[in-house]
Amino acid sequence: MKVTFILNHQEETWDVHPNDYLLDSLRTHHIVSVKRGCDTTSCGVCTVLLNGKAVPSCSILSASIDGKEVVTVEGIAKEAERLSEFMGHNGADQCGYCNPSLALSVHALQQENPHPSDADIRAFLVGNLCRCTGYHGQQEAILHYLEDDQ
């Protein structure tokens, strides 16, 4: 079946199978910035923005995105690049596998709540697992990034 949607600000029409999940469709279309980390929607590394909300793309049927807007990290390249500078300076640069999803979640948080507290950030990003950094460096990086944006 065909779905027409906006991907990173451009219209796309893709042929998808009714059983396909958005994560797999994106990867087969070479949008490999979106990664898979689990089978149970519990790791967050497959996060995309769907109509502006951060969602795990492994739980969204591709068939359901018709007429919607999907943003992957390529769609927020500038923000991601800037966030990465803060990550680098706060000791949060490690394997990077969770990073594109983190950038998208931080972006979504910023849209919803431009002045989040430390606790707000933790609560919003709790579904974005990271096994390398111990979170502390990430948290500092995100705080500094958001402050810098204001």
Partner: protein, 769 residues
């Protein structure tokens, strides 16, 4: 120093955050066959019949492989040096399955859906065998896991498969029994540490293709590309020269990707079909079919004099290696060799025990590598002893622990699988770490606890730790530096960055020596065809071992450039000065890009390339102290970690930010192991914790604050004074948290993880007494 000890951002951070294709699956051929594995539902069984006809008749299914398709060549997936200290006890596919999740057969098809269909119609008849599920009952059990004739050890490791013993070992300094009899105070306690999962975010991934030269090319998320190439060659009988292994970015390893995973089956599929093939483990497969940490039982006996002098340590370990003996002996030995020397004033030490086979998922390498298990037992036992002696635990440690310039006989006796290497602690700032930690963690204010409300207490506990820096006389790193036209460099290394930041740190070393900026040092790691040999990213070896190789190669390159510059400046080599951009002699000068351009385009043309390698002659341990500041609810046993203070002696931290990241990542994994991470099996041997819903790893909710500092330390033999920092962070949390819990509520939890239930239960029992 321009670059060393600086917070240099990693060379790949930006590209990875922006989602550029970098990881193994990102680089797979788009038309790859999908490879999937049928996994055993039984913990122990013999395959009596397999029918593949139905699966093969599905259009689009290209290949089904069973044990009948492979020659019986036993090997080990351990991914260690050769000959391996792990027994050769695994076959690519075998007629026996030894844990739930063990490989039964594999299918290759055009799509994943077709693979699933094929797996569904594979007919397998099992003769279900009794499993061995209690590791304390494994030795001389009626059921033998590896009765086959082909299994063997590569050199003596105490291998007795007929008794379910994968390895055993015994060492003694002095006479422990006699020494204990002379002690005023003796304590003994049994500790249990659980299996733990690496749970790296990128699942195990590999793909293969045949290239235009008819060679097998693998992209693999591995920590050990050169071992992968060797083991494929030996096991599938393909000449080494016909195999190329490329390691792209790796999404976390922690030891879990030191072992081989899908490489054998994917290679077999590509070799037989001639087509590209790929395999990405599902998360369930990561849990069921990739290694765990070795579960251990540790009996610790300590003897001391009334004045607080530790006299004897007796340590007996039983380790569960699961179905295959990967890292069986070496992890077990590290539980002693990288823990017991911490208290080097004793008259006598004994360390002995066995590693046994069970029908659990195979264990393997995991950050901490035995040291975390041993540390939990020893550092808990030290606090128990201090309590009995009525001596402050910090004072006791201060008096009995390793100091700079000292040594321990254990270093010479115990290596990893073989004899050790004698060494003195030329750099050891453990004393500083202890005192600084007391200050930073506010120990004096909190110890043993503060009542902060009728039901809540704040308490503090601590532990000390050591690790190593590579395996002496075994781990080798090498590096090649190439000067390019225009005067920038390539650094080619076999060392594998698995997220720890080694590409950045190694480039920093080279750039510092050559005086160039980071963006003039372009790193390439690791490709078995293009980069020089390296044993791989494990044993905390990369900065120390590979870093030394890089340092040597960079010095060589500098010398070569100065020689060429001298020719062009008509000067003596000794008169040429080089500052990273300019060669100056006899009032004349030449920039590095002029030199490079002349070398490659104009006069007396030749390519400059320098290669060096390094094998460590010692393994200088990094040291640290960890202080856990917790708040506990005495009614529920629930506790929070308010802050974890780490004071680390890793020699010179070459990149302060990346080093901090390594410590904090390790601390949080250690907190996970201490608090709730647990690999649980059902009574029948099925893994219960096989997803992120049932196997919990720390989230950013639990990690409130981490305080990390480095001691001023310099290791003469390390590159720019560095020791390792990859593993040490993980070691202290289990004991520090157990000690904090004891200080808070007076109960001693000796079995990890330390859950609220165990604490409450122990409190109730104590109240009853």
């Amino acid at each position: 120093m321009k670059l060393i000890k600086q917070p240099i951002p990693s060379v790949d951070g930006k590209g990875l955050m922006m989602g550029r294709p970098a990881y193994t699956d990102d680089l797979a051929e788009p038309n790859s066959l999908i490879v999937k594995v049928l996994r055993s539902p039984h913990p122990h069984a013999k395959i009596v019949h397999i029918n593949t006809d139905k699966a093969l008749s599905i259009p689009g299914v290209e290949l089904v492989l069973t044990y009948k398709d492979f020659k019986r060549i036993p090997f080990t997936r351990a991914g260690q040096g050769y000959p391996e200290p792990s027994p050769h006890d695994k076959f690519v596919l075998d007629q026996y399955v030894r844990h739930v999740g063990d490989e039964v057969a594999c299918v290759a098809a055009k799509t994943e859906a077709l693979c699933d269909q094929a797996l569904d119609v594979l007919e397998v008849e099992y003769d279900i065998l009794q499993p061995v599920l209690d590791f304390e009952q494994a030795i001389d059990h009626d059921v033998v896991l590896h009765p086959e004739d082909e299994v063997h050890e590569m050199f003596p490791i105490g291998y007795e498969p007929k008794r379910n013993i994968a390895a055993s070992y015994h060492m003694e300094v002095g006479d422990v029994e006699a020494e204990l009899k002379k002690c005023d105070v003796v304590i003994n306690e049994t500790f249990y540490t659980q299996a733990q999962m690496h749970a790296m975010m990128e699942p195990h991934t590999v793909n293969a293709r045949i290239d235009f030269q008819n060679r097998l090319v693998l992209y693999s998320a591995t920590q050990t590309p050169f071992h992968v190439r060797r083991i494929i060659s030996q096991t599938l009988e393909v000449p080494l020269s016909k195999i190329r292994v490329i390691k792209p970015r790796v999404g976390g390893g922690f030891g879990g990707k030191q072992s081989l995973h899908g490489e054998m089956l994917v290679s077999a599929v590509t070799l037989r079909t001639g087509k590209p093939a790929k395999m990405v483990y599902t998360r369930k497969e990561v849990f069921e079919a990739s290694p765990t940490r070795h579960k251990m039982r540790i009996k610790m006996t300590l003897g001391a004099d009334k004045d607080g002098t530790l006299r004897a340590i007796d340590c007996h370990v039983l380790s569960d290696t699961g179905a295959y003996g990967e890292h069986a002996l070496t992890v077990f030995m590290v539980a002693g060799s990288k823990v017991l020397p911490l208290y080097n004033k004793v008259n006598s030490v004994r360390f002995y025990g066995d590693v046994v086979y069970t029908n659990h998922n195979a264990a393997g390498a995991f950050r901490g590598y035995g040291a975390i298990q041993g540390n939990f037992a020893l550092e808990s036992a030290i606090d128990i002893l201090c309590e009995k002696l009525g001596i402050d635990p910090l004072e006791f440690r201060d008096n009995n622990m390793m100091k700079e310039g000292e040594t321990s006989p254990i270093f010479a006796i115990m290596g990893e699988g073989t004899e050790g290497t004698a060494m003195t602690m030329d750099s050891c700032k453990l004393e500083y770490c202890l005192h600084r930690g007391r200050e930073v963690s506010k120990w004096n204010e909190i110890y043993p606890y503060q009542q902060i409300s009728p039901t809540k207490r704040r308490a503090i506990g601590m532990a000390i730790a050591m690790q190593g820096s590579g395996i002496p006389y075994i781990d080798m790193g090498s590096a090649t530096i190439k000067l390019n036209d225009d005067g920038f460099f390539n650094l080619l290394i076999g060392a594998t960055d698995i997220g720890q930041g080694s590409d950045t740190v190694l480039a920093q070393i080279a750039a510092e020596v050559l005086g160039c900026d980071m963006d003039h040092m372009i790193v390439y790691s690791s490709d078995s065809d293009l980069t020089p040999f390296d044993t791989g990213a494990y044993a905390s070896s990369t900065t120390y071992v590979s870093g030394n190789a890089v340092y040597k190669a960079a010095m060589k390159m500098k010398q070569m450039m100065i020689e060429e510059a001298a020719k062009r400046l008509d000067a003596d080599v000794d008169d040429v000065e080089f500052d990273g951009t300019m060669f100056i002699a006899n009032t004349q000068s030449l920039t590095i890009n002029e030199l490079a351009n002349r070398l490659y385009y104009n006069d007396d043309q030749r390519q400059l390339m320098a290669t060096s390698s390094y094998v460590g002659h010692k393994s200088p341990p990094p040291f640290m102290t960890g202080y856990a500041d917790i708040t506990i609810d005495i009614e529920t046993g629930e506790y929070d970690i308010n802050n974890y203070t780490s004071i680390v002696d890793c020699g010179t931290p070459l990149n302060t930010m990346l080093a901090r990241g390594q410590v904090e990542g390790g601390i949080v994994q250690g907190i996970g192991m201490a608090s709730y991470e647990d690999v649980k099996y059902s009574k029948s041997g099925r893994l219960i914790t096989n997803d992120f819903v049932s196997y919990l790893i720390p989230t950013r909710h639990e990690i409130k604050n981490l305080t990390t500092e480095f001691a001023e330390s310099y290791e003469e033999t390390g590159p720019f004074g560095a020791k390792s920092v990859g593993e040490i962070g993980i070691d202290t949390p289990p004991a520090a948290i157990a000690n904090a819990i004891y200080n808070a509520v007076g109960v001693r939890i000796t079995e990890l993880p330390i859950t609220p239930e165990k604490i409450r239960l122990a409190m109730l029992r104590k109240d009853e007494q």
